[in-house]
């Protein structure tokens, strides 16, 4: 087990957003958080790397208390990819090098540059390395942001809707990369998703959020038509098409 969340509650001033959240994520797992708009998915993800501070509850990362770590130590363990990021006048290489920030004391070392080179190679971004971010397409930019999180060498990768602005090809490429990274580096990826079919295709485990709390959590077995209809409020059928599970609203 790499990440363990128990009894987490969070509210913005007096408006409760998350209640009694409890789940566990294992090494090598692609863990998908699903639910309606406003169910608290993004808030939960931000609590996991302390961008937001839950009022109660414990979060353990590799058995260490998240709230006892400094923000630099948190950033060394958890890589976060925000839903929104800005395309600025940075080269791809510099943008990915930024992921080394939690490890850098004063200047970037040869080891930092080497890690960036490897990550760029893994994501197939080598040819863009000296291009400016504001000259890239949406799919390329999304890969750069994921590359930055991988360069952090995190234990857990947190991704907030990484495919929301991508075309079909890029959706698949990005999620494949994430899944492969989680498997090969024996880390975990916690991914907030909207597209149920992509989740069914890539995720090993699912967390269904409804009314600010956990509706169901587990593997393929919880992705039943009843559970999905219960969370989204739409009757659905779960079928297999060429042995790939798909969800169809009825």
């Amino acid at each position: 087990m790499i990440l363990s969340v128990d009894g987490v509650e969070f509210s913005y001033s007096s408006r409760p957003v998350l209640k009694d959240i409890k789940f566990e994520v294992n090494r090598g797992e692609f863990f998908s958080i699903l639910g309606n708009n406003g169910a608290g998915k993004s808030t939960l993800l931000k609590c996991l790397n302390r961008i937001l501070k839950p009022q109660t509850g414990t979060i353990l990362i590799e058995k260490e208390d998240l709230f006892a770590l400094s923000s630099r130590e948190v950033a060394r363990r958890l890589g976060y990819v925000a839903q929104r990021y800005e395309s600025t006048r940075f080269t791809v290489f510099d943008a990915v090098l930024l992921g080394r920030k939690p490890h850098i004391k004063w200047g970037a070392t040869a080891r930092d540059l080497e890690i960036v080179r490897k990550v760029l190679a893994v994501l197939g971004l080598e040819e863009f390395s000296l291009r400016y971010l504001d000259e890239l397409s949406g799919g390329e930019l999304q890969k750069v942001v994921i590359a930055r999180a991988l360069a952090q060498e995190p234990r857990v990768l947190l991704l907030d809707e990484p495919t929301s602005n991508l075309d079909l090809k890029n959706q698949f490429e990005v999620l494949k990369t994430v899944k492969k990274a989680a498997r090969e580096q024996n880390i975990a990826a916690v991914v907030v998703m909207h597209d149920l079919n992509l989740a069914l295709r890539f995720a090993d485990k699912f967390l269904l959020l409804k009314n600010r709390t956990v509706f169901a959590c587990g593997g393929m077995e919880i992705m039943t038509p009843e559970n999905i209809a219960g969370v989204y409020g739409v009757p659905v059928a779960v079928e297999r098409l060429a042995s790939i599970p798909v969800v169809v609203p009825l």
Partner: protein
């Protein structure tokens, strides 16, 4: 395919090279600026004097008149430009600058209070003797207080009331016009000479700085530069957006508050000694962002040198264009800055 770290190192070396070129250009322009003027010096004489190998008259002209002016132009340019550069990053707004945040207007109001209400009197000018300031230190201090008061109100709103960076710029604009209005009301009740003094003070004049003023400016600007460089990775992280920065372990609120305070301090010190000098804080950083990109490891030094170079060029132009009349340098920077800025905008921001 070429080795990536190697081509990347070449790319960063190019940035260092450009910064070195700018330093060299500033040094050459500095020698020209010491040389230019009515005393008919030669560049060789200038160099000899700087090396301490010249006789009386040259020593006085160069050490007491020309050199302080050149140093003041460079230091002020560096300070204003780097302050603008950091403010634009911290507030996520390309228009953030000492002027848009109301700092300049606050200092003008402070100076006006000193000249009218506190009787610091008429102003002294290096070129026009009509107006004389009896108590320049009082004016400097009042201008500094006015500038810092504006900053503190904006930072207070951000910290205590949770105002967003976008709204901080708007708050600065509001405060700026409030202070402008207050200055106008003060001027309405002032005598002719006092109004002339205030107007003259706001022009911005590099020649006002004495060696003692310069010591303070150099120390404050130097310390701020070191502070900004120590935070360069934080500023880079912030460029990717607030949440990305937090995900990289940056304490965004603390970095923003401290950075804004230091940037404002540099601006307040510069403006209170020299008066209002516009556009350097916008043009310097934006030019270098186009040329070198947004990486603060290189942008901070590059924008600093560019600011010094621009202000030195403006001041030299102001002294020589219709010599012996010395034009207010604030007008020159805006004259050169605004068209240059429009050009950069039309080149850069349309092409996304």
């Amino acid at each position: 395919m070429e080795n990536i770290p190697e081509s990347y190192l070449k790319y960063t070396q190019r940035k260092v090279f450009i910064i070195c070129l700018l330093v060299l250009a500033t040094a050459l322009l500095g020698i020209y600026a010491i040389n230019a003027g009515s005393a008919e010096l030669s560049p060789a004489q200038v160099l000899l004097t700087l090396l301490g190998k010249a006789e009386g008259r040259l020593n006085i002209i160069i050490w007491n008149i020309r050199l302080p002016r050149v140093v003041a132009a460079i230091v002020a340019g560096v300070g204003l430009s780097v302050a603008g550069c950091v403010m634009q990053n911290l507030l996520r707004n390309p228009l953030a600058s000492p002027f848009t945040l109301g700092i300049s207007q606050g200092s003008a109001f402070g100076a006006a209070v000193a000249i009218i209400a506190l009787g610091a009197g008429s102003t002294h000018s290096t070129s026009a003797d009509a107006v004389i300031i009896n108590n320049p230190y009082l004016v400097n201090i009042a201008a500094f207080v006015g500038a810092m008061a504006t900053t503190l109100v904006v930072l207070f709103l951000a910290q205590v009331r949770g105002v967003t960076p976008e709204a901080m710029v708007l708050a600065g604009v509001a405060l700026g016009s409030l202070f402008s209005a207050a200055t106008i009301i003060l001027q309405f009740f002032a005598s002719d000479v006092q109004v002339a003094s205030i107007v003259f003070w706001t022009f911005g004049d590099i020649g006002r700085a004495s060696w003692r003023d310069l010591e303070i400016m150099v120390v404050v600007t130097g310390a701020a530069l070191l502070y900004f460089m120590a935070n360069r990775w934080n500023y880079n992280a912030l460029d990717g957006g607030e949440e990305t920065a937090k995900g990289l372990g940056v304490d965004v609120e603390k970095v923003r508050l401290a950075g804004m305070f230091v940037a404002s301090l540099v601006t307040a010190v510069t403006v209170s000694f020299l008066g209002i000098i516009g556009f350097i804080g916008l043009v310097g950083p934006h030019m270098m962002r186009r040329v070198l990109g947004g990486d603060h490891r290189f942008l901070i030094p590059a924008a600093s040198v560019m600011g010094g170079l621009l202000l030195l060029a403006s001041d030299t132009l102001a002294r020589t264009i219709i010599s012996p009349v010395v034009l207010p340098v604030g007008a020159i920077t805006s004259f050169m800055g605004a068209p240059l800025f429009l050009y950069l905008l039309s080149r850069g921001y349309g092409k996304r």
